[in-house]
Assembly symmetry: C2
Homo-oligomer: 237 residues x 2
């Protein structure tokens, strides 16, 4: 039987999919899922995604040795250890630690997908390793773009298109969004950073002074770890 390869262009569209029949890949390129891939690669024991800043703060009161990461609207929340910048997820900061991560969009998408067969984390950093693993699973695959406050965005969609590019030679049935994402990837793939510069989100992030983060997040195959959800925590597959 041919498996489906589908792209969900916004978390608001997740209810259209029977996620329990899919392996879900969560995509939030700028910057949550890039940082998660980098953190797990660098030896974080686990990354616990939470929805609310309060939920994250509660871990400090548990008296355990958690690193607390909270970001809203692209900025670190006062009183937290760090936010979503991948440069906070280096070996010397996260190795052996558990990070509790609050993010605007990635966590939202992840929570809405919790009934999936498996939930893994994708970014350009672990692209090929992720795709090679997906090819061996013989399951329906749903690529969930976290977007920005439920809005469609190009960077997550382009990454979905990059995954489709590696999987489409296998025997998958693509939905319209997978076809579109892959076509957009064809347009942007030679210089993704340049392609994304025309987007509003790129402008917004540029204003926040995180161009270096953006460049970092667009590096392909820098890592080989695949973060997978186990209970309430993301761990190395």
């Amino acid at each position: 039987m041919t498996n489906n390869l589908a792209v969900c262009l916004s978390p608001a569209l997740i209810p259209l999919f029977a996620v329990e029949d899919y392996i879900v890949v969560i995509i939030d390129i700028f910057r949550a899922t890039s940082s998660i891939c980098y953190g797990i690669e660098n030896g974080a024991v686990a990354i616990i995604p939470v929805s609310e800043v309060e939920e994250c703060a509660a871990y400090r009161e548990k008296g355990l040795d958690y690193l607390l990461a909270a970001e809203r609207d692209g900025k670190v929340v006062d009183g937290f250890d760090f936010g979503n910048s991948p440069f906070s997820y280096t070996k010397n900061k996260v190795a052996g630690k558990t990070v509790v991560l609050t993010t605007t969009n990635g966590t939202h998408a992840l929570h809405l997908s919790r009934e999936a067969k498996k939930i893994v984390i994708g970014s350009f950093l672990n692209l090929t390793t992720l795709c090679n693993w997906l090819k061996t699973q013989n399951e329906n695959i749903l690529l969930v773009c976290a977007g920005w406050k439920n809005n469609f965005n190009l960077e997550d969609t382009l990454f979905a298109g990059a995954v489709v590019e590696q999987l489409k030679a296998s025997d998958f049935k693509l939905d319209d969004a997978a076809i579109a994402a892959n076509d957009l990837y064809q347009i942007g793939k030679n210089d993704i950073n340049q392609y994304l510069k025309k987007t509003s989100h790129g402008e917004r992030l540029k204003k926040l002074g995180i161009e270096k983060d953006i460049e970092f997040c667009l590096q392909v195959d820098l890592t080989t770890a695949i973060p997978i959800l186990d209970g309430d925590r993301l761990v190395k597959l």
Copy 2:
């Protein structure tokens, strides 16, 4: 002030937009908005879009001379005058008449947009006339793709991209979805029918035996009427 030119890729995403600040263009290329454009062009006094088959049937009981059009899952509902095929909306059938139209997706999108400044109907049939009018409005514009049961589809998105193509030289701020739709249009524009053949929706419609409808709906600038919502009915602008 620069106006926004935004694309809403699914009716499920309409709540993300403050539609009261926009002129909304409803897009349901296969086939509701194509048939509406053709029907209004051909002298229909009005087309009344309704959500439910029962609501449509109720017009017969009002004892008035309405033509009743009801379609579900691409087929005419038993007992109704016709469905969504544009070939049902010719001069000799609709001139001087009021048509009550039930559709799966177009009506859904239209109802969710009802707070908009104005709601007009777009299709390849009235593309250039519509764009020329939009250029003169000095308003934010939201292109709403009706999709298929809230799912993204390529044909509606490509049409949105065709509108962006004609408007982008004017002073609009494009959102990511408008950029994506326009880029997809660049890929498909030389032979839209061929481009759409790789989509699942195209396959589904082909099974229904409506390839002629599809060809008809992809004709550019066949008509010059712009249907606009006035109360509960679509009339000629």
